[in-house]
């Protein structure tokens, strides 16, 4: 796989990072690590400045929506109600489960059938992260997901990257590491001036496209419309064999749960926006943490959200993962619940630790509506929650750090139970450093 240049807007950065990676201590960096480095450098040095593009200094991409990122999802209980008539057994494809729950919950027991096409995997609908459809071509499956949302960071280029990483994450959660095609879903805002539109939308598209290239895939289609709010998303598809997929259903008693990105992205992007747009809330935030800490958390969140879960998915195979999901709009608790309900074995997921971007736990105590400490706060382009044999978890975390340069955490255990998520009474918050020195560490400076 060749790598394409990443920063058309600032070609010098490529050289900088190539140099940095050569001097970063003899590790054999993968292209993905290289891209992580690029993202960290970009966030530190090159964030979008509206004035540089001839736009008004007050221009903020996040002002072109009222809901942010995966926080725009219809709440889970309402969604299940809306989609309930999609739960009927399909009439003409006995092998395919049309539960249509759009990442909603799916009870174990509805997907136990074998395919009429003599496939070794059972079809699944949308109860979890991607659907899996046995194809007419023997031994092959279509794995597919779609996701779209609204801007949650002000840098349009990074917003494109975050969107693409978020879409791909759903197939990575199934252990599928190679995407065959991306379609892009776009809406430009009615409220953009023509100039804003012509500057912002191409940057978003470029970010999406560069992230696709990082993931070894490409964008070959899409739809662009006009909408009140800027909308961005995509569809990821892969045609795979059964051995390419890790079905999210084989958690065993004694396994541990690993999370590959910190929580708190939603509160970080909101708190950052309040600093300039909501004096009342800004004052409350400032009473707890200094502005610079919020900005650091925002940068750390951006870094985290642009990072692909692809290495996390590759390592799922290497370290014999039993099941996984990605943590997005329904929060850690919601996605853990979807996953545990889908298990063959009678297990519970017991959560002991919450790795949270530094200072966001304390901010969330002042703004309990996010539900961060209850696992209910939406995450955008969050990490994988991976169920691993106890003796493989340390190796998985170590190798992921080597490849991506970032930490992962054991946050819980798989115990005998009745397919529920148990929130430990002695929940420990792990403060995940967000200082510039930490971003620096990622890019090996």
């Amino acid at each position: 796989m060749l790598r394409s240049p990443l920063f058309h807007t600032d070609p010098e950065l490529s050289h900088t990072c190539a140099y940095l990676s050569e001097s970063s201590g003899g590790l054999t960096l993968t292209p993905d690590r290289m891209n992580s480095d690029h993202n960290a450098v970009y966030i530190k040095t090159n964030l979008f400045d509206p004035i540089k593009y001839g736009l008004d200094a007050s221009f903020r991409l996040t002002n072109f929506t009222e809901l942010k990122g995966c926080g725009c999802k219809v709440p889970r209980d309402q969604l299940l109600k809306l989609l309930e008539n999609l739960n009927e057994a399909p009439a003409d494809r006995g092998n395919s489960h049309q539960n249509g729950q759009h990442n909603g919950a799916k009870q174990r027991g509805t997907n136990g059938e074998k395919s009429a096409y003599d496939s070794s995997l059972s079809a699944i609908g949308v109860g979890l992260d991607s659907c899996l459809i046995p194809l007419r071509h023997k031994g092959l499956y279509l794995v597919q997901t779609t996701d779209f949302f609204y801007p949650l960071v002000d840098d349009p280029y990074l917003m494109g990257k975050i969107t693409c990483a978020n879409v791909l994450s759903d197939i990575y959660a199934m252990g599928v590491t190679d995407c065959d095609n991306l379609l892009m879903i776009l809406a430009t805002s009615q409220k953009f001036t023509p100039k804003e539109r012509d500057i912002i939308m191409p940057l978003i598209i470029q970010g999406f496209k560069d992230c696709a290239a990082e993931a070894g895939t490409s964008v070959n289609g899409g739809q662009t419309v006009i909408n009140p709010w800027v909308t961005i998303g995509g569809t990821a598809s892969a045609v795979v064999r059964s051995e390419d997929v890790i079905m999210p259903e084989d958690a065993e008693i004694g396994d541990v749960l690993v999370l590959t990105k910190p929580l708190g992205t939603q509160i970080a992007v909101n708190a950052h926006q309040w600093l300039t747009t909501n004096p009342e809330r800004a004052e409350k935030v400032r009473a707890i943490v200094p502005d610079e800490s919020i900005r650091q958390a925002y940068r750390r969140a951006m870094y985290s959200m642009t990072r692909l879960n692809r290495n996390a998915a590759r390592l799922m195979h290497q370290f014999s993962a039993h099941a996984a999901t990605d943590v997005t709009g329904f929060g850690l608790f919601g996605h853990a619940e979807n996953l545990v309900r889908n298990q063959h074995n009678s297990v519970n997921f017991v959560i002991h630790n919450l790795p949270i971007i530094a200072n966001m736990a304390v901010v969330s105590r002042t703004f309990p509506g996010f539900g961060l400490l209850q696992g209910n706060s939406a995450e955008s382009s969050g990490g994988l929650l991976v169920c691993l044999p106890r003796d493989r978890a340390a190796g998985y975390i170590e190798e992921l750090r080597r490849l991506d340069g970032t930490p992962a955490w054991i946050i819980g255990t798989v115990e005998e139970g009745d397919r529920r998520v148990v929130w430990s009474e002695k929940m420990r918050v792990i403060e995940v450093p967000s200082g510039d020195e930490d971003l620096t560490a990622f890019c090996g400076i």
Copy 2:
């Protein structure tokens, strides 16, 4: 293929239509014709009545957007500008053309390469209706499209059907008749009351799902968010062999152009809305045609938009079609232009006839902004524009009428040229009847 019941809201209709089809003159009706019948009966007898559902009598789905159907597309020239940086040659998949034009124009000559995977078809990006990606699995291709828009009719169930028919149409235009999976794209409006949301969204979903069943496929995923405007759409995917695809590139001098649905849907749905929401425009319309004619045109448009282009695609194989596209947001002229630019041969498409839903041509003379007579008016879920050998066109039209019960028209010819669309100076408008007796004819009463 088994058929699923179509009208969960009114099960008696199934019996009615089954009876009707048995008495309809000895034709061996296909399931598709059966579905056409259902749609016609539904439109005549069972249109959405907000009062019946306990909603306010003034409730109109089309009030939950400011742009209608495929009329929400970003204009073609602006879109090409926005997407121009997706036109670069791909860096890491030499076989795949990332022109990313989202149904925009693509110049011939950018897709002449053969696949690195030893495939017999060249990859195409999104210059035309669907993208086509050679897969890692020899001899197989992923054909894929995504499309979403806003409500353009007031009946939520039919709106779901129209959306699904519109999405599938893009793969039918490539001659692909079997869809392997649909994903659904949904946004519920911020402005809905909870009651409106819980009544309207499930009806839309049901319509989408029933149309998928009519097409022999199913819905296995999607995303649902909150947005100012109701948004509906989907992604259609098929994994196919080369013989399943008719590449849109082999028009020959001497061919004729057949259109399988009448034009004028956009002006019909707008004029219908003006009758109740825009007194000034309503008055202008009433000066030309009576209200009932507008309502008839609206019903005819709904009937047309809910009809699948699947039989039209099947017959493309049987009658040796050389190329096709579907007519949607860029209007007849725009899509014809995209298609002619993609031809191997140096040809022009010369358009002589415009089949238009009755009375819409005269209304469009008072509202020239739609550009209907110039072929610029957006169509939603429009017909296929099929390029056929001259001696096969009559057979194609006749067989399509037998299967779908509806007319198609030879609207132009393929002549020597430089890949332009030529608009005949003696353009003839064909008034396509829209009276209730015509809908009745479709369903064989």
